[in-house]
Symmetry: C2
Subunit: 128 residues, 2 copies
DNA sequence: GTTGCCTTCGTTATGATATAACATTACGGT
DNA sequence: ACCGTAATGTTATATCATAACGAAGGCAAC
């Protein structure tokens, strides 16, 4: 596959600078001055970045995060997400793959696994 | 909390008749003749049904399914979803809660857990 | 170098999902 | 009947995502 283009770089940089998941439109807002003018450019970049494991989508937020890991290839981590502060912490746990295989059964071909945990992080609970 | 209203019943019935997850707008289409006229009515019903565990949201599909289980209270099952035929099979696995607790840590208050497994089911693979 | 092809990128428009804001109606308690 | 609360209805709008098409750039064959 081709190398990252300048749009891809800009989107990735924007995500890396954020400590929270960003929606495609958040990214667009932050890069509009730079170069990106339309949602589709952001989505195209995100799609390419996700294919390479540089970015992950957080399904329940319709948002995206840079992979915390620099970088050992494709994986599908889980996320722990605070509903208050919005921070999403990436994690991996080998048990997830086993649970998934048991649930799916031997004849189901697993392509992706999404595990997302929502709640309140300790700092936000303390502040409340 | 109050009982289910007629809109809630209609939405729940519609979901039960479907063997696949339905989006809010799918539900709206199928109930428009009956009574529901606007998205917000469907979303309100879904919200109430979800609170009671009668319906689950499948995050990565932006869609909803009736709980397969008639009915022992709140739970947060996982789903195995076929990308071809769209069928979502509900399952539960106690290991998920443990993985989630370990990932979140002792000071994180877990509210919901979403585990979704995507791929191809056996019949669809055979057909392809 | 120029032709043809493929991939990327830009632009416009539109489709799909979800909620805000506020008016109206239904209904139980007293 | 009166009030308060919950449910419902209506309109408008916010948010998320992709379709369709054309222009620009790279690259190999000739």
């Amino acid at each position: 596959m081709a190398n990252l283009g300048s749009n891809d770089q800009r989107v990735l940089t924007t995500l890396k600078k954020s400590n929270k998941p960003l929606s495609a439109y958040d990214i667009l807002d932050r890069t509009r001055s730079a170069a990106l003018k339309a949602p589709v450019q952001v989505y195209r970049a995100l799609q390419k970045l996700e294919k390479r494991g540089l970015v992950h989508r957080v399904e329940a937020l319709n948002a995206f995060v840079a992979c915390c890991d620099d970088h050992h290839g494709l994986h599908r981590p889980g996320f722990v997400v605070c509903r208050d502060c919005g921070v999403a912490r990436e994690f991996e746990d080998k048990r997830v793959a086993r649970v998934a295989e048991d649930a799916a059964g031997p004849d189901f071909l697993i392509e992706t696994i999404s595990l997302e945990i929502y709640g309140r992080c300790a700092p936000c609970r303390a502040a409340a």
